[in-house]
Assembly symmetry: C2
Homo-oligomer: 297 residues x 2
């Protein structure tokens, strides 16, 4: 099986959980529909797949961690909905379809995001309350999630990104620090939470965290590269939108060639962290790190 | 001491915790400032005070519950920031000052709300991770919080409220159901979480929940009444804004007099739930239920 097929198979597990997970809970119809519109819009499900892979690599019970993993995708989805709003990045397209506020309206999009973020914490709790993971372990993983998704992570990174957009004289270190918060933190949290929920020791947790950080940087660099060289149909959004919006990117700071070699170096460092492990989960994580650099969408 | 003085003294405990609780965490300055602008804008701190009162009524450790109680105020604050946005209720004033998006900008207001909601869950976790409450108890209380703040509670209620605004033929039952979600759920959760965090048995939890529901309805009715009869300076917002926005309210459906008697009946029912208890916390909760009906702001 190719890594793309493996990734599709694993993301299907998340897809199946997400499908219908908001039904039968007494949510107003229009709210549920707008949440599902964005949550079920496809996507690679990279974050939950990473969580489950690290969880299984370290002998965790993947089934018990599945609601927690899916919560990560909800948080990722809420952040996309809010980022696309007119007051933020003002993007009309997401994954080849109208973004949430274009399909519904701005108020619906704000509330769909708020709803997904809040309910995500409920699904994290379910890993303890319904699937039997130890309460203390789930609390630790939730703390990691708050740090990564909150003001010292994703939300803070979006603030820095907006401050940086259109400004001249941004240096690579500043760009790197912003990305570490805006996109890196949640990818790192995926790996770290997979380890925590498996009851990993500190050494394993450190390696999972390091892998996540490296893969997160590589992922972001490739995102920036694809915005220049990518194919509109594969990406589901216009090529060149970063430049049009005045965004500082890796290619704009260090050029395409150096960006590519940086991405490869980070992926190689991620793979190095997998040193002590064996078996199919290690193999998957190794292939995934390389695929993140080679992907075209 | 009058109930107003008691309330001020108890809200000071929350105020002290909230003051500076977002500092030293590596949050971007502008983000922290916009969150603090709304979080420290005064207000009665009704929800955390209710949580702590029920917690102490049932022999809980109020100090350990304090971060959890304060998280409730953060969630309440985030909901006000997002509700005031142009795409939602489009309110320029909140507590006599420019609302968050007027003081900062729309993007900041959206992110300040997202940040407060996310970090609120971190403070809930702190009641277990830093103040020693049992992990299972905190998880149970967090589940209650998700249900109350999420799509079957506050967020869902805001959706219903927006659908209802400007519509004719709304009946009292529909208004009541909307309020139970939009404002009632969080007030009820305050009382219920206070009980859960004290390790209350099911009977105590039922009484705390019932008190919260009754007080929540009374609070909302009085809010509607004050929007008609209130004093602009005390309220910190223009009188008559509900009518101007086409909001359905208790006075618009059943008149002022019947609204007042309904509010009193709900407060009396709240007090009845306190039957089995004694001591200063019971006295406070009894006076608070009556004060909620008599308040002028």
């Amino acid at each position: 099986m190719t890594i793309k097929e493996k990734l599709a198979e694993r993301s299907q597990e998340v897809e199946t959980f997400l499908q219908g997970c908001l039904e039968g809970r007494g949510f107003p119809d229009r709210l549920r529909e707008s949440m599902e519109y964005s949550l079920m819009a496809g996507g690679k499900r990279l974050r939950p797949v990473l969580l489950l892979a690290f969880n299984r690599l370290l002998q965790g019970d993947g089934q018990a961690a599945l609601p927690f993993a899916s919560a990560l995708e909800m948080i990722h989805t809420y952040s996309l909905i809010h980022d696309d709003l007119p007051a933020m990045d003002d993007d009309d397209l997401r994954r080849g379809r109208p973004s949430n506020h274009k399909q519904f309206d701005e108020a619906s999009a704000i509330l769909a995001g708020d709803g997904l973020l809040t309910e995500a914490f409920g699904f994290m709790l379910d890993s303890a309350l319904e699937r039997g993971l130890p309460a203390t372990v789930v609390l630790q993983a939730m703390r990691m999630m708050v740090r990564s998704a909150g003001c010292g992570g994703m939300v803070g990174g979006q603030v820095l990104d907006m401050n940086m957009t259109g400004r001249s004289g941004v240096e690579l270190d500043e760009l790197r620090a912003m990305h570490a918060m805006k996109t890196g933190a949640l990818i790192t949290a995926a790996c770290a939470c997979g380890a925590i929920l498996a009851g990993a020791d500190l050494d394993d947790l450190r390696r999972a965290t390091a892998y996540g950080k490296e893969v997160g940087v590589a992922f972001q660099i490739v995102d920036d590269i694809l915005d220049v060289t990518g194919d509109e149909a594969s990406l589901g959004k216009p090529v060149g939108s970063d430049e049009a919006q005045g965004k500082v990117t890796y290619p704009s700071l260090v050029g395409l060639e150096r960006s590519r070699s940086l991405a490869e170096a980070h992926a190689a460092e991620a793979v190095r962290q997998l040193g002590p492990y064996h078996g199919p989960e290690r193999e998957f994580l190794e292939e995934l790190a390389r695929y993140i650099v080679e992907r075209v969408q």
